[in-house]
Amino acid sequence: MFESFSMKFIRASTFPLIVLLSISVFCLAPSFAAGPDSREYVLKAGYIYNFTKFIKWPDRANGEIEKKGLNLCSAGEDPFGNILSKLAQKLKKKKNKLLIIPRVSIKKMAQCHILFVSQSEESRLDQILFRVKEYPVLVIGDTPGYAEKGVGINFYLQKNKIRFEINREALKKAGLAVSSELLNLGRIVPGRKMR
């Protein structure tokens, strides 16, 4: 019985193998698209868009945002795929200008108004936070422990819903004013002593 199965297996495998090979040939063109959990990141994009309504940047940065648009950067492997660029397209129709800078280099991070730090950057987080320390950058993450380490707003999942924690000290240090409504919705995290 199992001998005939192995024959069947060989027969069954040839076709999918051909399909696989043919597809893999075409995968070399890089493009940015959403991963398998896109719904989660569509919702997170919605959160980020909403955060901008509750956070006030210092005057100079605010002027920049009104004039040139808000710089939304992401550091490391981008879990949003092309969701953020789609968001920018949609906001353009609403006359809200959003500039998406994926995989921003550490040098340019100070130009970001919002910086999403991916889980892949866990080992470099201190370095990134140090780089933007003196600048009005809203740092956002979705990795457990990020808020305690100094990320301003950190997403977490609870009961299949997205929640966020806020490190007030970190936001204050960045010169960002947060409305009390946002503070009420998030979980306040005591940040570790900032250097």
């Binding site: 199965f5 959160y47 009961k159």
Partner: protein, 671 residues
Amino acid sequence: METRAHRFVFIFLLLFYQLSVLADRGFSEELDDVLEMDLKQLMQMDVLVTSVSKRPQKLHEAASAIYVVSQEDIRRSGATNIPETLRMVPGLLVAKVDQNNYAISSRGFNRQTTSNKLLVLIDGRTVYGPGVSGVRWVVQDTMLEDIDRIEVIRGPGAALWGSNAVNGVINIITKTSRETQGTLLAGGAGTEEKGFGSLRYGGKIGEKFHYRVYGKYRDRDDGKNSDGREAFDEKQMFQSGFRSDWQVSTKDHLTLQGDYYETQLENDLRSEFVSFAPPSTILIRNEETDTGANFIARWNRALENDSAFKLQAYYDRVSRNSNRINTTVHQLDMEFQYDFRLGERQDISWGLNYHFSGFDTDTAIQVLRGSQDTYSFGLFIHDEITLIPKTWSVILGSKFEHNEFSGLEIQPNIRTVWTPNPKHTYWAAVSRAVRIPGASEDGLQFNSSGASAGPPFVVRIIGDGRTEAEELLAYEAGYRAQIQENFSLDIAGYVFQYDNLIDLTTGTTFIETTPSPTHAVTPLTFDNALKGEVFGMELSAEWRPYDSWRLALGYSYNTIDLRLTNPSAVSSAENPEGEPNHIFNIRSYLELPHDLEFDTLLYYVSEYTEREVDGYTRLDLRLGWKPTPQFELSLIGQNLLEDQHPEFGNDIQFRSEVERSFIAKATFRFK
């Protein structure tokens, strides 16, 4: 057969070259909705998939072969009913029997009324009928626009869902009423779908209570027989329903929902139930009216420390009435589930359930058991143990269920998931599942007409209570990968060992004098007559070469090897070995300038020898125009390559064939 399949691949690879227009991912509409929401609304939104572990879980970390059909997939498929939306799922065989009936299965054993190893739930309510031991797709409907997603698990889900979740579970999940606010009006007409329309209104009372009500109507034309003549299988249906979601407090959520439907359909039966009480004429063609009603109440409560409980109860009633048969099935079901975390590493769920089903029938069917009311109750426990955080976990679980047909059934499984990095997931599972015999196989007897010429002759189908549960021991493994940011892949393979499979065995023909007239009887008795192996693999891939172009592919291979366990038995029923070995589909979703969408769906099913159906290729095209989020127009062409082709056999009912058809549909949404 395989060379034909190779040709499709080649054609589509050519397409890859020729089309260089920018395309979309399909979340665009979701993003529109999300941008309309404030933070409080966002905080109510569910993120993830639930079926695999009965608690929310990320899709790519699931330890089973799961595929999710999203609302966007449904919208762009051009499908006008639930079975058609399932064609795209890799590994599902969706065969249209006639205009009303579908035979749907995963991993083999596809039968018309008794595709009996696949469990289907709509919002937590099972639509697997205990009378027919299967799903009557003809009466399963809802507002397609209000479906959030359809989660399809191939392979056993019995450790969580209990008996009958043997080779697959389909979970149809509708949106919450909070997500379906405003008015939606959709309607259209076509060559086969003579007219259909649906209307939904969603409103709210305060900020905590949301509701929706809907109604839909459909009038479907007769199909065509293989000789091109009009078949006898048209259908009219009306369905309405409601759902309300009440956020009683930050911790409590109460959902009430219900549906009512009335379906009028025509049957062109090959044989009919025979009663020797007058009138004894055998009506082959008949008209049937099916009515159904159901009501569910569900209470979810979030507790401290990430624990939660759920309490659910539902009642479901379905009756079928024609001049030959009148049956009513009642089902009452109650379920409790509790989730909690034990220490840092264990997520545990356990639950209890109770199920009652009652079966009323008319005189043509003889009841051998004392009562057709049956009860079952069960307990499940599911423990997800993290061995290495974010990398390796093991899932242990089992369902313990007592039913009146086969007593206590224990259905355990062990699963493991290894995620060396977020891009690659490996999983494997061993599980046991059973299917308990339905009323028709265990406790009923009825006569079916034999050849009509000559002296009266009947085929007597006997379920005399000798059947035991069908058993499955399943070995499965799979691999999921996000190979590039725009390319993902999912492969699963399985070896299933079945024992005690129920089949009809033929006895010796004898003469019966009472009731008169004197007639010959050929007995067919349900017995656990078969055992065997099922083996196969499924592959699905998704590739987004450009922002606005998405390609999806599904392929499955399945082969069945069965043998009789009782050498004296002669199996007379259908032979599942003759089911299609290869199923292949490729879908392209393209977003064009001027708010146009162009979608191509190509399906291939290889030869179905048991049903005398040749391999066929089906091409569906859809052109959509969506100038604003409020308005959408679609032109859909189905089965464009052929005038007509059959997808299933002629056993219980005369089949009608799938014709080339065109549909125009418009959708309006108002706030």
